[in-house]
Symmetry: C2
Subunit: 317 residues, 2 copies
Amino acid sequence: MNVPTFADVSRARERIQPHIHRTPVLTSRYIDGLVGGEVFFKCENFQRAGAFKVRGACNAVFSLNDQAAANGVATHSSGNHALSLTYAAMRRGISSTVVMPRTAPQAKKDAVKDYGGKVLECEPSTAAREAMLKKLVEETGSDFVHPYNDPRVIAGQATCSLELIEEIGLIDAVIAPIGGGGMISGTCLTLAEKLPGAKIYAAEPSNADDAYRSLKAGRIIEDDAPQTVADGLKVSLRGRTWHFVSRFVDDILLVSESEIVEAMRLVWQRMKIVIEPSSAVAVAALIRNRDLFAGKKVGVILTGGNVDLDKLPWLKQ
Amino acid sequence: MNVPTFADVSRARERIQPHIHRTPVLTSRYIDGLVGGEVFFKCENFQRAGAFKVRGACNAVFSLNDQAAANGVATHSSGNHALSLTYAAMRRGISSTVVMPRTAPQAKKDAVKDYGGKVLECEPSTAAREAMLKKLVEETGSDFVHPYNDPRVIAGQATCSLELIEEIGLIDAVIAPIGGGGMISGTCLTLAEKLPGAKIYAAEPSNADDAYRSLKAGRIIEDDAPQTVADGLKVSLRGRTWHFVSRFVDDILLVSESEIVEAMRLVWQRMKIVIEPSSAVAVAALIRNRDLFAGKKVGVILTGGNVDLDKLPWLKQ
């Protein structure tokens, strides 16, 4: 199993720089007061396509040689990775195809099409999705870019914390949400090289605590269709992300659904920025564990800002 | 009638600098594409107390001599000026009292109290409000800081466009919302000195078009209890703001309620920032009048971000 090294991160950074934003790092006196520490929010909600996923997607797409690129790229996702891969393919001028369950929201299908991507609809099951993707890759020779279990993707995500520590300098800890583990693996990759003394915390919904249980058990445990408002975090670890999580993550901090929603609302209200529930998981973990972070310099990755503004989780439908 | 000069703006800037944020200027490729020009958003939604009003309030409070300051400050407002004046008084360590209709939302009263301000409740009429404020000022010697018809307030608001043009350089036009006219008067004051060739557009809800009708008539026309989602823009011009509006504003651009709500939602969705309806009035005017702004460099003042997240105007209640 090939896992990326820090040299891959340096190359990723050069490669993706023309295609992504260097996102701002924001602070909030209110949240600093709440935690009793200094908190630095890396705002990937302002990233192209609205989430950090565009880093990994661009790194994968722009590291293909011309011959491979000519066959296009493909993935399965109904979330930010779908949009990000399509964006990256558009930037390179190659085709992209996304396998999505036919039950996915029309808005997500439309967003992929707006960037020039193709949507292939499958039955909403893992087996159906994988079968359709396999067939597609065999027939077209498209390069399959997995949402997180791909060394190019992990190296791309690692550029996020690299920017953060370049801007802030020494920090004591970083908190990032964990789903499949792409962002947290990238964070491990960068911090192990640049700030090996910093603590790395993954934040996870209690309702989708497969990574937490995996870390305690010492092996990957998969969740079966977890229910959480943080819909970007429902997937499970895979080999390459487990590699990093098992070696470098200091702890996984669990938060409840109501803590996620409250943290999301707090950030909107106080910081005047739009973040999605998955981002709020990291903020909720920060607030719930303030004893861990008091007196410390803490980086928090706000992973994305793609929200359905017609369905806010604090409002009754 | 004393009106401020640009020298007052320079002094205001020095005076308030320790107490306010220098807010960022953001851009959006999407909105640039929509308009066909280059648009620079001055983000006062990130300002202390959530709105530009803190500039004028701080300038008023910190220009008092110690003897006058000892008697505290007072105003009538149930909006951003109330919070801003209370914040400014807290920074100086003096008392502040806000006369508010008893029907004002409890959240607004609580916010003033959180900053250490006193709330005096009156019957919801102009006469009752003015009588109570007059009595208060007579009894306590408090300095009355009008929300906009005050030279110190106008000079404070003028620092906003000063920061904008320092950061962006030459611009062809500025759009700011107009209610009582404090922000637009400050904008006139700065641009007349620094960029006399730039166009100045005020943006106003059609449902509260008193400034528009005033400009056409050549005299102040007051609205009687207008109904608009942009609740910061319901008040009418007064002598000092009319002075600037009548001399320097090139045009007043009207927008409908649905245009305001759509523009607000668009900014949240695309720029991932929280703006209040009054801010969205300027964005709606930009989009509606794109022919006016195509090929131009345009500054848009996003005046504030204080929104009731439980009552978003695009959602049915």
